[in-house]
Structures are given as structure tokens and as C-alpha cells.
Symmetry: D2
Subunit: 328 residues, 4 copies
Amino acid sequence: MKPNIKNIAVLTSGGDAPGMNACIRAVVRTGIYNGINMFGVLQGYQGLISNNINPMDARSVSNIIHLGGTILKTARCLEFKTDEGMQLAYDNLKKHDIDALVVIGGDGTFTGAKRFGEKFGIRVMGVPGTIDNDLYGSDFTLGYDTAINTVVEAIDKIRDTADSHDRLFFIEVMGRDSGCIALRSAVSSGAEAVLLPEKDTSLNELITQLETGASTKKTSSIVIVSEGNKDGGAYDVAKKVKERFNHYDTKVTILGHLQRGGSPSSFDRILGSRLGFAAINELLKGNTMQMVGLRGNDVQTTSLEDALTTHSFKLESDLLEMTKVLSI
Amino acid sequence: MKPNIKNIAVLTSGGDAPGMNACIRAVVRTGIYNGINMFGVLQGYQGLISNNINPMDARSVSNIIHLGGTILKTARCLEFKTDEGMQLAYDNLKKHDIDALVVIGGDGTFTGAKRFGEKFGIRVMGVPGTIDNDLYGSDFTLGYDTAINTVVEAIDKIRDTADSHDRLFFIEVMGRDSGCIALRSAVSSGAEAVLLPEKDTSLNELITQLETGASTKKTSSIVIVSEGNKDGGAYDVAKKVKERFNHYDTKVTILGHLQRGGSPSSFDRILGSRLGFAAINELLKGNTMQMVGLRGNDVQTTSLEDALTTHSFKLESDLLEMTKVLSI
Amino acid sequence: MKPNIKNIAVLTSGGDAPGMNACIRAVVRTGIYNGINMFGVLQGYQGLISNNINPMDARSVSNIIHLGGTILKTARCLEFKTDEGMQLAYDNLKKHDIDALVVIGGDGTFTGAKRFGEKFGIRVMGVPGTIDNDLYGSDFTLGYDTAINTVVEAIDKIRDTADSHDRLFFIEVMGRDSGCIALRSAVSSGAEAVLLPEKDTSLNELITQLETGASTKKTSSIVIVSEGNKDGGAYDVAKKVKERFNHYDTKVTILGHLQRGGSPSSFDRILGSRLGFAAINELLKGNTMQMVGLRGNDVQTTSLEDALTTHSFKLESDLLEMTKVLSI
Amino acid sequence: MKPNIKNIAVLTSGGDAPGMNACIRAVVRTGIYNGINMFGVLQGYQGLISNNINPMDARSVSNIIHLGGTILKTARCLEFKTDEGMQLAYDNLKKHDIDALVVIGGDGTFTGAKRFGEKFGIRVMGVPGTIDNDLYGSDFTLGYDTAINTVVEAIDKIRDTADSHDRLFFIEVMGRDSGCIALRSAVSSGAEAVLLPEKDTSLNELITQLETGASTKKTSSIVIVSEGNKDGGAYDVAKKVKERFNHYDTKVTILGHLQRGGSPSSFDRILGSRLGFAAINELLKGNTMQMVGLRGNDVQTTSLEDALTTHSFKLESDLLEMTKVLSI
């Protein structure tokens, strides 16, 4: 049975991810196309609490599909973790007669959405928006493809300068718990080695690998280091390698937040459009407390419960194997 | 039973596609890693005929993963369609004791490979390398993702200048028989309309759509035209629209061959690496007369026979539906 | 003697040029820094006539320095050429007590500004904003550097695919009367030939040049064609060359309006910042009816009279000579 | 009187700079155009000592104008600082009858070239190739424009994510002794503050500036830090600011060597072409022991003596003033 939904709000929360604007555009226009009144919440859950909720029409999302960041902003919001904060948020939604909420973000965002939905019975649909690709239920999260392309373009530039035998480049990329960005970046850039949070790579192993490269006349070596790597970030690893291997000239790049920005790739724009389109359609079909995600080439739903509690190892194991074969 | 393969050659044929170099690198290094002697054939089938076949080592594919085009070049080769040409090609392969051939290209390439394999019993493995995404057996062909990103970046720039009410931009993209580039580009760039070879779009329909846009205060309109569109290319369509709708200022861009070039996206580098890696592994397992392709997130094989004779409609139907909803 | 200026308005007019937003930002913030009330006029002279004039504060130009296009929009405005239109414009300026006007645009813009300033005594300062680099008084106009970079990136991609002996690429770039974009693009991209509006290049000469290239084993040839070239645009030239030289495979790209867009280069952002900063400072010093421009590395003023009537041949003659030497 | 020059060699030395390949191409082709036999020296002065000197023809510099790095490589070479090393280098040049040397690099390169020229009477012409823009005699050095664009594109991405009130981004850019990259990057990216090696900026001053920004509702703040800044690099400064200003969330990016790479901008390709063209022409006119450089829009020569001993403060003072006005 189709629910009686008249007003839907959308918010973005957590770290920015390229493609969020494409998704907001799809959510708003798909809603309007289906006769729904659409609202945008500024600064994530903080905007719910402070009633920063505004009507959106089809033109309000014009010319945003190509923009990085999110026009709805995000913010950290501790208050939404309290009962009082949630109550305020709910009261504000009711002022606008809002029946359902689309939340775009990562696991922190979904945790809040799930509690909120359970507590007040408000309909909720999640869209996985995070560059880290660390959510169960979607093979690719929004922003992941763009972030990898950003990293790879940076490494391409470093490679231009890397043509001497005795030089080692250490590049730190995002990923506290997830090595997804690091692994795909390593394969795409032809890096000589990659250090991931999910794996204990001994320094000895790395050094052996670098020495093998040197002996086969590689002109340079690039090592990708996840920020969550167990032996420390790029600076720490570079220092330790230098101690053991002092004829090497070591250079460090920390990409930092530039990985969160930039115009989204085509892949992320299409993913954002698809997931936003699906989020509204699922709500209109009566679904709630779920996340829309990409599996293979299809959009499918996963319960927020499963998305939050299933700890899948998302590292692509064939890529991990390939890094060794292809960097000989 | 594993075949006795000692020497493998790789060639690229047909139109260039970004990611071909990543694939060549993967083919060569995976072969060497497995103890095979690897050879590169210059200028496609022409190089087989003129014996332009050279040994490749791991270093010969260093620093190429990020380059557009193909280090092995491609060429048109009518001679390979003749029995004499094929015989010359085969004789040259035998001079180098080459047991198997990896061919990277599109359907023309595979047609040649299939005949060649059938005629001489040489082992053949195909890799789908074409920006058009028009092959059965791989959801994405090598170069397609990069080509779309190239188109989308171009349209983003056009959008910057498109802020007046009475201006229409017509952008012609590649695709004689396939609207894949046009469709994904349209969704990614938020185009107002898209004309595809697979669909008869009446001019009336387009004009109605543009008028609706104008009435809802769209500040500009972008129309993507596949080169294979039935009403003609971008110039022709612009002219016809102008005749009917003369208060519009129409502007035309023909992207042309720049869509074939450029540094491959991360997606295409990974795809090229995966398919090259798989191509060698499939040959070593004893498979032949097949194409490796991406289905969902997995690499799978399809017989060349099927790849060439199955005419799948590869346009993503959900995207086609979405273009209407999302461009309101 | 310093004038008593309290309120200044800024507008952009004519074709968009990357860097206009950087300039608007500099104009607005420099004004505010000096205690002036600043106003933005939307859609150029049309906004003066329709009183689309709004106060701007320092925050209203935040996060725009990197954007292509112009946040103030531009529009064609025939009405401003009439006495009635000018009177309306003046009356509207007076409603806001506006003492001076900064106009960013090309020669059409300056022609209007000069008449307006003469007629009503309003203080006027021009900033050369046009990708064509066709104004006297500034070695570089705003947007020119970005446009060339855009063209060059496109040609780089085409070059990736250009590795066969018998292929000719014709790329049409902007410039109805000025070959500046074409010439710098040709030198930067290593093009084999360039056809400019300022020069009568016989087809025979071009063909001779291409034949010489072929005989010296050039693997491909790229010809840049200004849209204002006397033998026609890229399509026409390609057709004529093909007739004479039929073993060549000719390919055409028409870049069109994408040359007007894109995020401005650092050079254009600095130029826009400098010229905007100078425009306000010149007005505050009491200067009027002038244009600020870059000469060598210095910002200097030129009277609008001189900017409009001096017909300088801006093609850099050393570059013209170099194209021949460097494309051997 | 014109010298009798028949053979000229070219080398690149010191840190890579984008545009070096454009310059090598211009040197080689201008030489050949003038009937000179041209040679390329691999790995800078090291290649002179180890006789890594090869003939170059017009085709050997095809398709390199757009590539970052240098096809001739660079290397550190302590041996060239010794009399024995210089003697070996000279002997090798004589083996090839080389009459003159074009050296592309920075002040270390020129110091070596000057001593070498004085000692052996070999003709020498320098081309300023360094991203740091720290040489007297050329307003812009080769690679500087590209490096700034690289930095600015990185900061643009960071800005996408910077929309919260309490976030500070510290971006470290190259420049041990020269703040040129930092200053132009700061103006181009609209940074809130910039810390330069040439200036003692007290931490108090920076904090005051950031607090002012906060009070005027700036949504974020970006601080550019030269690696040679007296209070330390970006990490150190971020740490000190955090101690004093603990409600701020500070984020650090270290761009590192990616600033040396990348496809050269049009400006650097033209500059490289011009300077390479001029270097040969100056040698053929009989000039030696000089550097060619860009002053205003003209190519002029400076003696190596002056280039090395004149310590000009190259920071553009108007830009320094503008950063304060424009970041209000």
C-alpha cells in the first residue's frame, strides 16, 4: 500500500563527498516530479534542531550537478545525539508537515537516522555518501570514484619528477579504517607498494620490496600510505625507511582534505542521480529505514540495521593480488 | 589441462581508447610474472603482417599506465582481411614461436581475431577496448569511462557561459551506432535533452521539451547529439531548431577526436589492469577464442562468437527514464 | 583633488570571460575596504535599465574567485544604445546615489560606457574582460590565458590519438577578427600549422607545409583554424584539403563556447584581482573614462578613447615566426 | 662577428620544472633549423661526465611539448664540482666536437655552467628553469606558472569542503627561500593568510587575522605556508595555532613534489619555446656566459654573473598589499 507522503526533506551530514549535489538535485526533482513538496535542511542534523529548513523547487537545484561539496552544507552535531535534540528536530519537521527524510552521509549519519526513525516513526531513507567506501550495502559509495581520481592525478604529477634511482615518494591518502582509496589508487597509479589499515605490513617486507624494485632498475618508487596504517602515516613510514635505507632520498606528500573536494566524476554524478532518484521512489513505494545502494549495476536497498552492523571486508582481493604482479 | 604456452604477443587495433596502455602493461607484466616471454606488435594487424614484433620486458611498460593512446599504436589494415595477409601474419608469429595473442580493440578487431584463430589454430584472447561501449559481454569497455568524463568536463565549461534565457547549446559526441556516451554524458551533465542513434526523436518532441524548459525559467539548455543521430549531427539539428524557433541563439560544439584521448580515469586504469591480468590468466588456463569482460564487479569470459553476434541494446533504460525526470 | 565618491556599482557585459568573478570580488572588496558602498548590477546594461541593482558586501563575493562565468551575468542590450535606455539607466543609478561605475567587458561594453559617461558625467572605469585579447591598452585581457589553456588541453587529447601517418586534425578556435587564441594555442600545442584572420594563408601554402611534414615522417598533423579565417572555418578547410589531398583522413573538432568557460587560471585570477583593485583605486584618485590594463608587469591606465580607436595588431610576431621553426 | 658553431648540446639540471621539455624541443629544432648538429645530454652534468651524450634530430623531440618532467632527466652531480669532473666533462664534449652548451635549470646549474665556461672557454647559454621563480633576470622562470596552477587547483578542492565556521586549513607549498609560489597561490585562491620565508609573521598577527575573519562570518579559512617559513612548515604552524585557538579544527595538506610535475601550462610552453629559441639565436649571434629571460613581454639576456649575484626581492609588493585588502 502506498503511503500518504506529501512533504519530504533532504539533508547531508558527515564529511563532504563529491556527488552529494548531484544526489540532492535528483532527490528534489524526483520528489517534485511526483507531486511532493520538497525541503532542504541546512547543515545536517544541526539544521533540523535549529529549524533551518527551507522549501526547494526544481530551479533551486539548477547548475549544481558539477559542484563539489554540498549546497546544503554539513556540520557536526552532538546535540542530535541527545533526546532533547532529537525532540527539537522532530518538532521542527512537524512544523513543516514533513513526512519523510532523505539523509545522505556515512555511518554516523545513518546511526542518527536510524535512532530518529525508530523513536518518532518518521520515514527515513539513507544514501551512502562518503569517499571512504566503507559501508555495507553499496559496492561504491558516493564520492569514492572522484576521490580516487583526485589521488591518481596527484600521483601522476609526482611520477613526472620521479626519474632518479634513489628517490622514494610516500603519499598519504585518506582512510582511517578503510584502505579502499589506497588500494584503488595504488593499482591506478602503478605504485610500487601500498600500506593499508586492514593489513599488518612489516617494514621489512616493504624494504625488501623496494630493494627488489631497485635491483630491477626501477627508476623510482611510489608508496601509498593510508592515514590509518598501523605503522603510522607517510611521515612516520618515510622516517623509518630512511633510517634503514639511508642512501634513499625520501619525499612526503600529505593530500589531506583536497581528496574530499573537486567536481564529481561522471561516475559519481550518475551514482548520485540514481541513488537520489531511487531514494524518493522507495519512500513513495512505502519503504523506510533503508539505504539505497549500488550492487553490480543495479540499485538495491539494504536495511539501515544491516548497513550499520554488517562488517564486510570491502578491500577487493583481486586488486590486492594484482598490485604485486603488476608492480614487478 | 594446462597448455604449453611460452610466448605471447599483444596488440592494439581499431580506434584508440584510454586505458589501453594500462592493459598492455598488465598483459606484459602478468605474462612475465608467469614465466612467459612477452612480445608487442606495433600498429595492430599491420604489424603482424610486416613483422613489427618486438620482445617486451617489465621495464618496457614502465610509466605508461597514465598515458592516453597506445604505445603499440593502431592502424587500419585491409590486408589482414585477405588470406595472403593472414598467412603472412601467421608466418611471422611462427618466426617468434608465438603461441597466443592478446588483442585489445573493438568488434572489427575481434572479427579479425576470430577468423585468424579459426584458420590457424592460434590461441586468441580479446580485451574490449573501445570508448563506444558497444560490445556484448562487458558492462564497460576500456576507455568508455574516460570518454564520458572528457565530454562532461567540456559541457561543464559550456554551462559556465550558458546563463541567458534564449541560448541553446548543441554538443555532438561520438557514437555512430551507440548512444552510450551520449546518454551517460547527458545524465552527468544535467543536459536538457539527448538525441541517440537508437531512438527516433522527432524534432517536434525536442522543441516541445525545450519550450517547456523555457517556460519553467530554465536559464539555458544543453542538447547532447550522438554523431549517429538519425536527424543528423549537431550542426544539422541546430539549424533545424533555429528555423522553427528563431528567437533562440544556437551554438554548436563538435568534440570530435579529443574524446578518444586523455589520461585514463582511475576506473579505466583498473579495468585495463584487471582485463589484461585476466587475459593472460585465461590463456594460461587453456582458454582461447574468448573475450574477458566486466560483468557487475567480476571479470568473466564470453566467447568471441557471442561477443560478435549478440546484439544487446546496451543503453541503460533507467538512465533514459531519469533524463526526463531530472531535467525538469 | 580626490573626488567625493560614496557609492560605486560594478557590472559585466558582453561574452563571459574566466576571471570576471575574481575581478568582481576585487572591485567589491577594495571598495568596501575604502569605505565605499558597493553595488552589483545584474545582466550588464540591461540591469541598469531594469534597475536590477543590489548592494554587495564582502561576503557576497566569497567563494567565487575560482568560478567561471560571472555571478553578475551578462546580457545583450540593444536598448542601452538608445537615448531613452541610457536615460533610464542613469535615473536608476541616481536612485541609488551611485557616483561611479566599473564595467568589465570588451569593446562593445566600452563603447556604451564611454557614451554613457560623456552624456551624464557619471564616472566610469573599464576593465578589459574578453577571451579574444583584442583590446588596445592591455597586453593580456581577462580570460585569454584560461581560454588558451582550455584549447591546449583539448589538443593534447587529440594528439594522443594522432599517431598515424595519414591523419590530419583541424581544430577550430574562437577569434572572429583576432588570431591571438589561435596563435598562442598553436605554439603551445606544437601544431603543424595555424590559420589566422589577420593573414591570407593560401591553401597551397598549407598543403605544401603538410606535405613537408609528411615527408619528414611526422606521425600526424594538427592545424589550428581561427573561426574568422578567410578560407572558412575548420570544416571548410578540411573539405578543401581533402579534395586536394585525398589519401588523408581528415578529422574536425569545433571547440565552440567551451572556450569561454572553465575555472580561471591563476594568471587570470591574479589579473582580475589586480585590475579590479586598480579600477577602484583609480576612481578614488579622481580618474575616469579610462581602462585599467596590464602592460609588461605593471597596471596602467589607457583612455577609453584610445582603447577603442587604436587598432593595434596584437599578434605576437616572434611567435608567428617561431611556429615555422618549431614545427619542423 | 658570428662565431663558427657547428655542434650544440643541451642539458637539464636541478629540480624538474614543467616546460623543460617545451624548451628542449625549441632548442633542438631551432638549432637544426639553423644547420647546427644538436646533442642531448642525459641526467645533467652527470651525463657530461659519463659521456651520456646523444645526437638529437627534429623527430626526437616530437610529442614532448605537453609532458611534465624532462626527457633528458636531471641528477644531482657532486663530481662536476671537482676539477677532475669538469675535465672529464670537457673531454667528452670535445669527443663530439661540441662548441656550445645550453643549460636549463636554476642557480646551482648556472653556478656550474659559469665555472665550466670560464675554465674551458666553452660557450654557455642558460635558461631559467625552476618552479621557485627565484632567479634575477627573468620575471617568470620556467615551471612557475604551472606550479601555481597546480597549487591553486588543489586549494580549490579544499575550499569545496571548507564550509564550516570553525575549520582552518593549512597548506604547505614549495619555496625554501622564496615565497613566490606561496604569494601568487594565496592571491589566486583567495586565501585568508600567507606565511612567507621573506617575512617574519608573528603568530599573534596570524591569529588576530583569523579572529577578524571569524567575526566577519567567514565560513572557513585557508592559510598558505611556504616550506621555508620561519615559524616552521604547515604542521608546526597548525599545531601552534591549535594550542592558542583550541576550538578550531585544523587540517593540514603538504603538497610536496606534485608541484614539480604535471603537464605545463600554455604560459610555460610558450615561455620554454621562446627561451629555447632565443638561447640558440643568442649563441649564434656570438653571445655566451648569459641567461635568456623574460622581462615584461620581451626576451632579454642577463650575464650569468648578474643572474647569480643580484639578490632581488622578487615578491610582488602589490600582491602582498592586495592579500590584505582582498581577504576581508
